[in-house]
Each structure stands twice: as structure tokens, then as C-alpha cells.
Symmetry: D2
Subunit: 508 residues, 4 copies
């Protein structure tokens, strides 16, 4: 889901009582792409909320800002939405205690907007007259602004600034009788990416957009069914993987009728987001039948093959570069060493008291392991470069620690285009590879050498011989500019990422 700070055309700036318990991470020190959201649902299990909390905990890497759970206990819906980590909120009896019922849906959320407001937390809920309905959304709609404008004109009152609320109003206004029909009628008006978990008083619903950009899997736990963004959330609750919800599929699950599949869209080939494999998914998740960890090792191995260099040790940038570094080390036959130590206790909110200390920057989070680095030619492995700010600091830290040569190797291609499907990419002006050649980037970050994995190398790591330019097997637009859907709110102008659509695009 995304939120549109300016979506309220009238421009309401709202403050909210609850101060965020967890500040958004400092952008400059933490130069990563940001997912997005995670969704989870369960039907037919007595302690549905507790298991949903566990599932969301396993999906916490997909969003740390807010979490929410909705349940239905046979008579009433219950909901809790909190800022902060699942494990800091949904472990307390006073929170879990009243989330009664054997059917539940949950959501974890990441957002980049300065002021995180609780009312944007999900699942969203509405009384549809025919009954209650909750929706949790991972993804981003590329025509939300356009739809919202029309809905407001027709008298709808929006309470959040998320694109997800558009879905709710479309359903609410549908004149169809059955909830699935109302949902399908709404989905047909959407454009962009979505993996939805919805809840009614007797049904759990999963839906994935026509090209299946964001992931959604189905699991079984005894008689119960589980929906989750990744298989790691099935593992934690002890559920077994059944299959993925397919692109363009809507599944409805009831206690009596079990799982039913609906295909409201014309059949199209899937194009799942390639960044799930590169960075977002947890390494122990299985996606499309493949281990994410093994794929990342293969990216490292392909990288070694394509860009090998005469270094003495392989050093991962923790933690994102670790699997690729292991793969690189094994393929290149070079020793793998912890040349950078990560401080796990870094508060998300460590703000430096003065300019002098600010310069220390990256050291709050990472420190050089001098004994490994001193006097060596090293190859540093990272999964990606976004702005290049952290890379620059880490390269400098390596030299400071005595490195002779610092060869930077990136386990994905150059990121040149923004994403509009739930990944928080910065303005194109800030994407270093959209502005500079690899040589310029190398000079900017100060490395001895720099190389990226090729697009084909990436596809090979994914087990595909090569990218089909006419029908790309993945959503790889950040590297190629080849977007899988219409971008109505943008009016086709992707050069202006971060301007026209900035508020819609900056959250997933």
C-alpha cells in the first residue's frame, strides 16, 4: 500500500497522539531500498491472532514501522494497530487478549513519510452494510490518485492517506451482492501492484495483481489455511507450503467450503519483482520453488565469474551482502572474512550531537576489523548501490583501517529507474547509477575498482538462460525501465520520479 500525503486535496496536516515508538531509519546512513509491507492471514485456527502475530514477526523485515491485526470472533470484529515492532506490541496480553476469534488478517508496514500516523496503519476496516470487511495490502497502485479524485467527487470521505483506502471505497460502492464480486469489481479498476489479504466474518481472501508483482503464498496448518507474503511466515507457525497465489488469482477460503480459486483477469504471464530475490525476501524463504539464499549465493558466484579481481579476501557488507559474499568466496576460491563488524545495538534514533561527531557517521553501525583488512587487497560485496552514500563511507573506513586496495563488487545491475510498485526508491536524481557511469561511481565512492552483476548474470542466477526482452520473466524495471503496468497517475513521465508521484511512490 502507499500513502498520499497530499491526497487530501484540501491539504489536511494531521498530528496524532501516539508518538512513533520507532523512528524511521536515517536515510543517509542506511542507504538501502525499502520494502514495502508484509501481509498474513489465517482461517480455522483457534488462536488466530497469536499465530498472526508470529507470522508478522517473521515478516518484520518487510516493514518495521507499524503493525496491525484484525480478527472476527463469530460475533464481532476486533482490531489493534500499533506503531513499532510486532514483538514490542503484539506480545502483551492486553493487546492479544481481546483479539479473539479463529480468523485473522495482519499487516506490517514500512513508510518513509516523516510523520507516521497510526490511521495509515493497516489492515483497514469498513462496515459495508452487508457486514464488516478488512483489507491488508502489500504493493502500490499506480492509479490511486486518479481514482481517489473521482471518489471524493462522488462524495466519498477518505480518512487515511493510503492508496489502500481507494480499494475499500470501490468495494463499498459496488452494487454487487456477493463480497467476492464486489472485490473483483474493485480490483478491475486498479492498476499497479497488490498482494491483498482480506477478511470478512466468514471468509479469508487472497488476491494478487495480474502480473503478480508482489508475492503471496498459501499454507496449511492442520485444517486451517494460511496466507502470507513469504514462506518464512509459514515456517514459524509450523504450516506447510501448499502453493503460491498465482498472478491475477483471487482465492477465497471458508471453513466449510475450503479454498476456491477465481480468475477474474485475462491470463497473462507473471512478472514477479526481481528485488524480492536480490534484497527483500528473507534468505530462508522459498520463492517460485527456489531458495532465496541459494539464488543470492549464485548471484555472488556469477559476479565472481563476470568480474573477478586479484584480491586476497572477500568481505561482505553486513548483513545484506553476506550470502552473495559466500557465493563469491566459494566461486573465486578466496577466503571469506568478517572485515566489517556490525553493531547490533544501534538505536534507530542515534542522532549525532555535533558536526564533528556526524562525520563519524557510519561508525555507529559498522566498524572496521583492522586485523583482517590491514595491508590487504580486499573485495567488498554488497547486494546493491542506491545513492552510494554508505558505500563511500565504508570504502573510506576500509582504507582508514589499512586496506591496500578496495575492490567493490555489487551483486545486482545498476539501478537506473524508480519503482512504483511498493519499493521506496529515491528521486532519480539521487540514484547514483542513473546519474553516473560505473567509472564515475567508482571514483565517487573512492574504490580501486567497481563492477556490477549484468542483467543476464542476474537472470542466470535465477535459473533463466537469458532475459526475454519481449516478455521479461521478472519485473526488472529498476534496471531496464521496462515497467510491467500502466502508470496513470504519472501521465507516462517516468523521468520525474519523485516529483509528480512522489507521495504515492514513496511507500510500498
Amino acid at each position: 500500500m502507499s500513502e498520499d500525503g497530499s491526497g487530501v486535496a484540501a491539504g489536511l496536516r494531521e498530528s496524532w497522539l501516539g508518538a512513533p515508538q520507532d523512528q524511521p531509519p536515517d536515510k543517509e546512513w542506511d542507504d538501502r531500498l525499502r520494502e514495502e509491507c508484509g501481509v498474513f492471514g489465517i482461517i480455522g485456527y483457534p488462536e488466530a491472532a497469536a499465530f498472526t502475530a508470529l507470522g508478522l514477526h517473521a515478516l518484520q523485515h518487510r516493514g518495521q514501522e507499524a503493525a496491525g491485526i484484525v480478527t472476527y470472533d463469530g460475533q464481532q470484529f476486533h482490531t489493534e494497530r500499533r506503531l513499532g515492532l510486532v514483538g514490542d506490541n503484539f506480545n502483551k496480553p492486553e493487546v492479544l487478549g481481546h483479539l479473539k476469534g479463529s480468523i485473522a488478517a495482519g499487516h506490517v508496514r514500512y513508510s518513509t513519510t516523516g510523520a507516521t500516523i497510526l490511521r495509515n496503519a493497516q489492515p483497514l476496516f469498513a462496515d459495508l452494510g452487508t457486514g464488516g470487511f478488512a483489507v491488508a495490502h502489500n504493493g502500490n497502485l499506480t492509479n490511486a490518485k486518479t481514482l481517489r479524485k473521482q471518489l471524493v467527487k462522488d462524495g466519498a470521505i477518505f480518512q487515511s492517506t493510503t492508496d489502500t483506502e481507494v480499494v475499500l471505497h470501490l468495494i463499498s460502492r459496488s452494487q454487487k451482492r456477493r463480497i467476492v464480486e464486489r472485490l473483483v469489481e474493485a480490483l478491475r479498476q486498479l492498476e499497479g501492484s497488490y498482494a491483498l489479504v482480506c477478511l470478512t466474518n466468514d471468509m479469508l481472501i487472497g488476491a494478487r495483481d495480474p502480473v503478480g508483482i508482489r508475492p503471496l503464498v498459501i499454507g496449511r496448518l492442520g485444517d486451517a489455511y494460511v496466507l502470507a507474503s513469504e514462506t518464512c511466515a509459514l515456517d514459524i507457525v509450523g504450516a506447510t507450503f501448499l502453493r503460491e497465489v498465482e498472478n491475477g488469482e483471487v482465492v477465497t477460503i471458508t471453513r466449510e467450503g475450503g479454498l476456491e480459486s477465481h480468475r477474474p483477469f485475462p491470463k497473462r504471464p507473471a512478472r514477479p519483482c526481481i528485488f524480492e530475490y536480490i534484497y527483500f525476501a528473507r534468505p530462508d524463504s522459498i520463492m517460485a520453488g527456489r531458495s532465496v539464499y541459494e539464488i543470492r549465493k549464485r548471484m555472488g558466484a556469477e559476479l565472481a565469474r563476470e568480474t573477478d579481481c586479484p584480491a586476497e579476501v572477500v568481505i561482505p557488507i553486513p548483513d545484506s551482502g553476506v550470502p552473495a559474499a559466500i557465493g563469491y568466496s566459494q566461486a573465486a576460491g578466496l577466503p571469506y572474512e568478517l572485515g566489517i563488524i556490525r553493531n547490533h545495538y544501534v538505536g534507530r534514533t542515534f542522532i549525532e550531537p555535533s558536526q564533528k561527531i556526524r562525520a563519524l557517521g557510519v561508525k555507529l553501525k559498522h566498524s572496521a576489523n583492522h586485523s583482517v583488512v590491514r595491508g590487504k587487497s580486499i573485495v567488498l560485496i554488497d547486494d546493491s548501490i542506491v545513492r552510494g552514500t554508505t558505500s563511500k563511507k565504508i570504502v573510506a573506513m576500509m582504507y582508514e583501517a589499512g586496506a591496500r586496495e578496495v575492490h567493490m563488487r555489487i551483486a545486482c545491475p545498476e539501478i537506473k529507474f524508480g519503482d512504483y510498485y511498493g519499493i521506496d526508491t529515491p528521486d532519480r536524481k539521487q540514484l547514483i547509477s542513473a546519474q553516473m557511469t560505473p567509472e564515475q561511481v567508482r571514483d565517487e565512492i573512492g574504490a580501486t575498482s567497481l563492477a556490477f552483476l549484468s542483467v543476464d548474470g542476474l537472470y542466470r542466477a535465477l535459473g533463466v538462460e537469458s532475459r526475454d526482452p519481449k516478455a521479461p520473466q521478472y519485473s526488472d524495471h529498476c534496471f531496464t525501465g521496462d515497467y510491467p503496468t500502466e502508470l496513470t497517475d504519472l501521465n507516462g513521465d517516468t523521468s520525474t520520479i519523485g516529483t509528480q508521484l512522489s507521495l504515492l511512490s514513496d511507500v510500498g
Copy 2:
């Protein structure tokens, strides 16, 4: 405004991050009728929010549970809504600081629902497509449930459980072009009581229901206009009283055009709520040209004339009985004495740790002043009796402190009927005078004698020779059962106060 906990037919029970900072008062120890709400608005004054905070502070007696302010700064709307007292929240730079603009509307709220949720706090805001719109409501709609059901059926999504949101949806769905026309179209569908202060990006609007149940006055402060529930809110900001918004009147105020009056309803005589004079309004307010303090003194004087008794001292039940006791004392020629001391530091949340201590009950808030009471025949003055629970405890406390005789005198008639216009009256079964004769009440509370002011005595105190039964000059249905409006949601069955409509009626 009122809130309908069950209004969401789907039955969502929601928890909210922010714990109430101020618990609702303990009903048993504090046997008062509960107002309701207070509204305030200002246009044309640079520090609009700061003055609105002051105005709301002066109206704090009308609602202590939550407060909110919306402003418009020429470009953007800003809003802050907080649980707790105005003076505990709207004094801080981080709250007031960003409430920029020279036009503002505010609200203080009282609610009896167990869980006070911030999203029921007002003013409510909506983006109407044509611009932002905020509404603050004092009163209660008696057809809100019926209207809400239809709106939900038509696809509206409700986010709060207040009746006020119905108004917002009616406006939002109006196809009229001008905001006043949209508002009027909405008002025409309403039934019940309302004093509204609304805000757009260039206009402040005040509106009062066709019989003017809840109060609303207009003041001037230099070039600025002020709207407020009572004149005491004009006094605190230094505004001068201009006139009341009349029953059935809608006033619009713009910076350029000044004040314009609209009369969208057929002309009817006003019937303002008589309880404003008896209990709700602040004694220093002027209502319909009369000092509330003086009227209360006259109620005491009428009471002395009608029900005088051979006591030695006049003792007010603090603080509500004070003005009537002074009037009684002066009319009866008996000394006025502080026989009961009020503890101002009583936490609203003092919960007794055991049954033994519970019995101490009323002593946490009041204590007997033995030296005044011992050996005396006293006359205790209170403004009203609702359930009789506090009266019983205070009479007992007086005897315990050595009183010889305890004559109870009540400065209003017997409360026999519920209110549906914004006063929190208990279920009729709990209204002691709906269940018992005065003699039975006297016995129940243990007084030597008990007498109530007559309805005509009350009218005389208000300067009216006598009540006109065909066209009563006030909304006095709590004494007479003569309701000033339709009660659609109730289906005409007022015997069941607190059941069918309970959730709508319990908040003002």
C-alpha cells in the same frame, strides 16, 4: 454530537494507541447529569488557534474528555485532537505551534462510553473535493442511526462512531455547488439538536437547530468574529457579545463579506434547553440576556418561598448548589455556611483498594465540616437529583457529623424523563424521580424532609410568568416528557430510554 458504539453494524471493537489521559468520572460518586460538548470558532484573528484554545478552556466544564482544533493557514488545514484537558494539551508549543492560520474551529467533548477513542474527538474533517471542511458539533441527532444505515447502504464508509459523521457524509454527498447549500441540504435531513461550528478555507459557519436547543453566541474581537457555546468564552478572549445565533439560523462569516444570515427552516418559536440554566452553563455566562448566576440565585429564592423550612443554616452541596444556596439563604434569612468541604485534589481515578475502603466512598471528594453541622438543623441545597446515590451519602455524612435534622431542597423539579439532545441521562430505571414519589425519595436518601422546585417556580426564576403548555418556552422534557422534536431512532418509545437508543443518547 453523539457516538454510536454499535453503529458499525459489523461490530468493530477498536482499541487505540493513546490511553485516555483522563478517565471518565466515577458515576456512582458523581451523580450529575453530564453535558455534552462545547464549540468555538474564530475568523480574522492572527493567532486563531491560541484564542480557540483559550475559548475551549473557558468551555471546559462542557466536556473534559477530549479537545480538538482545526485551522486553515491560507494553504493548508491543520488539526490537533487530544484526549484530556485543553490546559494540559493545547498549551504546548509543539501542539499550538503548527496550528497556523487566522481561522479556527474547536471542540471539547464529554463522553460516557467506556473506551474513549481519539477518532471520535472533534472537529471532524473531510476533503469535499471542492475543498476541506471541518465540523464541531454540540447536541445530538435523534435520527442519526436511521440516516447512517442508509448512508452505509449507499457505500459510505464511517470511521468514527459519532452522529456528527452523518452530517459530514450528507454534505459530502450533496450535489449542490456552494458549501452553504450543501450544508443546508444536510441540515434539512437532520432531526434533534445541534449547535455547529464549521470551517472551510475561507469561511466560518455557525448553525443552530430549528428550536435552538443547544446554545451558540456570536462575538466580535476587533475585526474578527467569534462563535462560542457560551459568553464566558467570549469574555476570556476579550470579545464583546454581539448576539445569539437564533434557532434555525445559519450564519456564514467571511473576512471580506462579514456575517451573513440564512434561514433555511420555517420559522418556529425557540425552545432552548432549560438545563443550561439549571446546571450546565457557567454561572458567569449570559443566556438570552439573563445572568445564569442570577437565575440560579432566583431558583434558590423561589425554592425558599415554595418550600421553606425551620432550619438553622443553609449548606450548599459544592459546587453545583452554591448559587441556589446563596439565593435561598438571602430569601430565607438563614446563614449560609460551608458545611461540606470539597477536596479539589481528588484524582478522577481514585479507585478504592477494598470493600471496606469503598464504603468511605464520598469522603474522597467531600468531607463534613463538623463545627458547622454538629447539633444543627440544616437545609442542604443541591441543583438536582438524578439517581440519588450521592444525595444519600451526603445526608448520611451530615448525620454522622452530628446534624440534628437534614432538610434537602432541590433547585429544580423532579427529573422523570430522559434527554435525547446531548445530555447524558441514565436509563429511566435509574432516574430516582421516575421511579419514586418525593416521599419515597426522601426515605431513600434518609432526609428529614425533601422538596423540589416546581416547574412553574422554575419558569418564574427564568422570568416567565408560567409555562405555556401548548407552546412551552423551554425544552423541559426531562420534567414534563414534552419533547421538542421527533425521535425517529426511538420509534416513539420513550419508555425505553437507555435501551434502544442508549448508545446514541448517552453522549452529547
Copy 3:
């Protein structure tokens, strides 16, 4: 007790985790003398802590900043100390629940220091080797600084900045065997005022300084004994008044042995603090056999006799002037009217957002009741004038509301000297009557006329024919400069109130 911010000669400035829940009142708007503290103890009652909480609640007017309770359950001592009101803290099961035992001591505290730190909250506790010992102190030691300096030199480590900790160290270092002997040895070294309630594992101890400046009474509740600063705290728990602890008396109470009296000091006449009668004690308390309320009425009556004036109505400055105003009204035969309405909801922290609003000042707390004041010659009654700042604002407010003449009458003499015994008096430069004649004060506050009760009038109200200049019956040094004890820490220089001793003197 007092606290010495600079007492730690080394000058430690400490911050504390817990933010004050209740800010100290704004000095300028609330121009009162500030008490000081309240103490309470009970032995032989099963729910000792719950009753102590009730007793402290009844003593809340003596200190609103912090409260603490210590209990002993036969095996272990338990303690809770909290910032804020008793009723906001000591009502919760998680606080009261573990304060087990049938013996308890408690304390409420007022402090003027900017940063209220929890470690200055009382009762203080120490392990004396021979067992635990807790002390709660009302009063102020006038040689605490001198004693502390010597104790630190001898190796004592102070943890709080209160004078009370000096008592604890003196006891701790005593080589006597029995705890009473150790306490007496400590008391013999003290100078100034104290009413102490102490607790050991089998004994409750009460002690009052040689001239009995601060009050302490003994009550019985079945088999249990109670100690409290005022009788109103006996009333709330249902205890009956037994007698006062006399000046210079130490009482020890055990479950087996009952109450034992000790007189470690040479016999001297008592000189109780006269301000307890004027302002500090609750009106329903009985002191030295006299009702505080009746005495205040008599002060008003004496004031009428001494300083009557041709006004039309008598108006109290709420709430402190109310009893004297009733007495004045009855003696002068003038009607008593509420010409000033107090807003009970004023947050203690209402801070005005701008200079313009600041000017509104006093209106946040008080408002003029125009209908009473307009066109009248009024007599305003207050209990005292300290700096004169509030008086000036209220007089102005009366004129603004239309008063023709404003006659100010003060129910106590001119305050010309500081207190060093637990009352927070400002620097002498700020005491308006130490700097100006009554005529000058009248002009400064803008009243038509101004008169104070004479010292002899005050003594007459107290039932004493006249003040004995050689052996004054009360501690009346604030009017007369005749201090009842040595002032060692001051080196005899009382002209410099608020400078040398400022940090010791500003808290009681």
C-alpha cells in the same frame, strides 16, 4: 523537610528519568504561600498502606508534588514514591498491591525547586544495621546545612538534597543501642521545625520540635493508632481524635506496648505556626481544639469590625478567601456573592503562547461574574497578600467588569518577614508588605481602599485576648520578625532571606 539544591557542595546537577507528572504551579498567577508537607502513619491495621493513601489524600492540600508510603510486613519493608497526586498513583493495584503490612508511614510533598527529583520524595529509608528505619518529615531544619557539612566531612554520603537526610545520618551514626535513643540523640542536634513520623519493623514513632511549630495529631481506629498532620486525615479513615503530639514530645507506638510518651527536651511553651490557621490547614480540621473554619470566619468578622467600609457586596477571592468572606458578610450585614468564578479545570501547566495572550493571565483561573459586580461598590476578601501580583490582576478584572469601587480587605496582618520552618516564602524583596506601606500597596494593586487585619485582631480571632510580646503564643514571625528558634545556617542575618539560605528555605 527542605531540600538543598546546593547542599552537595560538589554541586551535582542530576536529571531523573521520570518526568514530573504535575508541573509546579505558575508562581505569578498563583500568589500564595506554599506549604510544606503532610505526614501520616498507622500501626496495627491490616490494610495499612490503603489507609495511609487515604490519609495522604486528605492531606493533599499540604503538598501536591510527590507522595510516598513505606510499609513493613513482618519480614520486609516495602516502599513506593511517586511524583504527582496521591489519587493518581496510590490507587492502582500494582502500586498498593505490594505495600503489604499492618504498619505504614506516608508523606506528601511540595517543592519549589525547578526540577523535582524523585529521590527527594519521602519517606526516606535507611538500613541501620540493627534494622530498617523510615522517616517522613514536615518542617524545616535551620541548621541542616551546618550539620550536613560536618557529616560529609566525617565520611557520610548524601543521596538526596533534603534536610531530612541529615536526621537519617545522625541516627545512623548514633552509637546508642535502642532506636528511640538514637532518634533522640539526633533530634537534640536539630534546630528548626519538625513533625516526624518514623517507622521501624515494630514501631511507629511521632515527634514534634520543642516549640511545636508544625502540627501532629494522634488518632485511634479500633486497636490501631494513627498519626497525622491534621484531623481531617483522621476523619477520612474513620479514626477518632485522641490528642495532639505535644511540642517537644516523642511518642512511640508498638502493637504490644501501645503508646509511650518521651520528653527529651526541657519544657517550653508551645508556639504553633499561625499560618496553619490562616491558610494551610483544611477548614474542617480541628487544631488545638478549635475549628479552623470557625477561626477563619472570626478573622473575617474581626476584619469587618476593624476595617468596615461602605460597600454593597462582599466577594471572596476563591477559594482561600471564602470562610473569612462569610464571616465578614455576617458581621457587616452585607450580602455575600460569587463575584469571581474559579475555573476548576485549569491545567497546572497552562502556558500562554504569546505575550498578547499572557496579558489575559489571571483569566485562565478566575473570571469576573459581571452581573454581580457591575456598577457596585464591592469589598474583596482574601486571606493574605504575598507579592501582590494576583491581587493587582483581580482588582483590575473587577473594574473591567464594571465595579464602581473595589475595597480590598485582607484577613491577616502584613507579611513582612520570611519563614524558615517549612513555608515557601519568597525573597523579602518580593514580599510587597516588606517593601511598601499599606497605602503604597493599595496604589500598586489599584484598589479604592486596602486594610489588613491587625496582629491583635488575629490573636482575638484565635481566642487569645492579645499577643504576649515576651512569650508570643504563636509562631508569628512573618508578621513580627520574632523567630521561635535559632537560625544557625543564616548566621542571624534575616535581612537576606532568599539569598544565603534560599535553597534551604524554599521548601517545607
Copy 4:
């Protein structure tokens, strides 16, 4: 430092306002030895507090429960002590802002006691009459209880329950003139381990116990001097390593005089704590000239040599087993793989809602990476086994994920004895290797095979040919039972670890 919950002989149980912001970790899921504390000091640097915060942040792994900083600004001492992480507290202007001065001392603390009370947080401060004095302590005194008893008998009042306060009282009572002499007089009475950083108004002092159990290093930053537990804290502030404070050495540093060394104890060989190398120190720290990371890799390599086994992959238990696993992998020539994924977002407070979910246990923190483990014979590397509870769960998780064989290899010898020098070792009954043979442990945890590094292998990894049984080069008593100091409080009975001395021993 340690704290003695029962040290107050009188048995005071105290609650404290500030609820711990960070609960102590769940023992069962997190079966590690617990350090202890970290200390830091700086003199001669303008922003002393900010740098101390950075230094403490780098030492956060040594204690996450509380942190404190004391500074002196030339006129006044300032202190802040907070529960929770450095980066969550000492980053705020309102905290750092007033910690003025160019001299500072700080402390991070770990404690196992249920109720963490702020008053046990360090540095402790006392006014010594001659000036202020602050002390921060890493280590544990083995005669603190005995000394405390005598001090209380002599009139000392203890305010915390830490052993460190004993040091303060000994200094406070010393009759020597100079502060170093007073400190030395105190140190001579101590027994056990300590690395101290002390602060006066013109001096920074470092001290290490006679055998140098806990570490302390000296660094230079321009003209400023730094003291810190580990070199990683020098690195973060950009200081260069000068030398270690030697065992039995006291160093005093003034701005004018620079560093002076004192040797108040008879010369003895050092015996630093061997667990710093195994587990506590950060891998990038240099201790006694050796890289901790390299030593851990050598432990892994020695382990491979001593206990190699026919597995297919080497899997570290994250994060503590990582360096040893890399060393093992390189020495054994087996691939290093991430077979266990750690969830970094696990709230410290995740409490499972039901027994069923409790069984999921370890999965909240770790998950199996199926693709690596399935069908394989794996060797799991951990740094130590304490209770064996986590090992058992992880072994089970590996089998569940499809491992064919699970060979467990531990990079240190069997832990058979408790520590009394600042490491939180459990009761000997809970030390699995004190109760079982390796074969029994293997069966208990369910591994295919299990082997520990030998004591001599450990010494070899440390660069020592073999352990000298007459003069062991390290404090290795947890493996050998050979304690480096007297254990007075224990009366020589080390069989009862965790009983007699439990409260003193459980915190470092």
C-alpha cells in the same frame, strides 16, 4: 559491579517510577553467559559527554540495561543515568545538552535482577567534602557483603544495592588528604575484580585489580586522554591506542600534569579473564596485542584440528559462533554456510501467548535455512555451552529442517565452575557440563556427536604453548576451578555457586 538485592539487611523492596524500557532477555531462549559492564572516560576534550556516549555505544555489547554519564564543567558536576540503550537515550539534546564539560566518565550495565532499578545505574557519585567524586565499575568484588556489613555498622547509609557503593563509602571515610590516596586506601580493602574509571573535578582516574581480570585500555585523542574497556571504543571516537592499564595499576590523568602511574600493590603476574577472548569482547577489539577476531578464528581452527568430523558443511550459530566457524571452515576445508537465519527484529520482550506457541520457542529468534541443511551432515559451531537449552532447540530445528547428521563443536572447554568476577553464570546445577559428561550432554541435546575445545587448545589459540598449572596465564576458573582471588563472601565454598552469594554474583 554487582548488586546485592538482600544487601540491605533490613530488606527494603523498592519500586521505582521508571519502568525498564528494555526487559532483560529471556534466559531460556538466550543461553549465553552475560557480561558485566563497560566503562569509558575522557579528559581534555570539549564535547566530552558526546564522545563518552559514542564510546559507550561501542561498548554496548557489554551491558544493555542501563547507561550513565557524569561530567564536570569547571563549576558543577552533571549526571544522567537511564535505563535502556545508549543510542535510545544519549542521543537527545535534552539529555546530552546539559552534560557540559571537557571531562566525563560513563558506564553501561547489564543486570539479571528482575527489577532493574535506576538507582543501581552507574556512575555512582558522592560529595566527599573535598569535592565531588564519580566512579564507574566493571567487575565484581568478592568481599563486598562483608565490607558492607561493617560499614553499615559504622553508620554508613547505602542507597543502592551494588558492590560499587562499598568503594564509594570506603573512599568517603578515608582520612587521607589526597583523592588518590583515599582511593588507594579503599582499593587495598577490596578483593575480586575491578576496572574502574573515576572522575573528580580535575582528574580522570583508571584502576585495575591486582591480577587485571577485567580489561581497561588507554587511548589518546589529540591532547585528550581516553580510558575504555576495549579498543573498539577508542576506534569509534578516533582515538589511538596508547597502552593497557596494567594489572594492579592506578593511573591519574590531569589536564596539566598528563598521565601519572601508581602501583600501590605488590607486583603479581596478570591473569586476564579468558572469556573476554572467547565471548565478551567485540571481535574488532585488540586485547593484549592480539586481535580478538583472529583468536576466535584460531579457536575454530584448533577445534577442527582436535575434533574434526566427516561433515559436509560448517554452520555457525549466529552471531557468537561466526568467527570460530570461519576458522573451522578454513582449517577443515569445508564450506561455510548460513544454515541458521537470525531475526534481528526480535523484540527482547516477545512473550508467547500460550503453551502451544511457547513450544515454537527458539524460532522467534532463529530459523533454519532448509535449502542448506536438507539431507546434509552438518557441523554446528558455537562458542560455548552454558545450560544447553538453546543448543538442544537448535539441534532439533536442524533435524526438523532435514539435516542427516548434526555434529556439534564448541570453541571452548566445558564450563564447570561459576564465575565471581562480573560474569553472570547460572547456579552450578544449571551448568550442563558441571553435571554431565560430554557424552551425556550430546545425548541431552540430541546431537550426532559433540566435542569441546581442550584447555590447552584454547591456550594455543591464545598464542601460549600450554597452560602453566602453577601460574595460569589467564583467569580460566570456569573451566578449571582455579580462582585468581580470595572469595571471602563465599567462605570458600564454591560448590554452592548461586546460593550463598547468588545475589552478589549474578551481576557483573
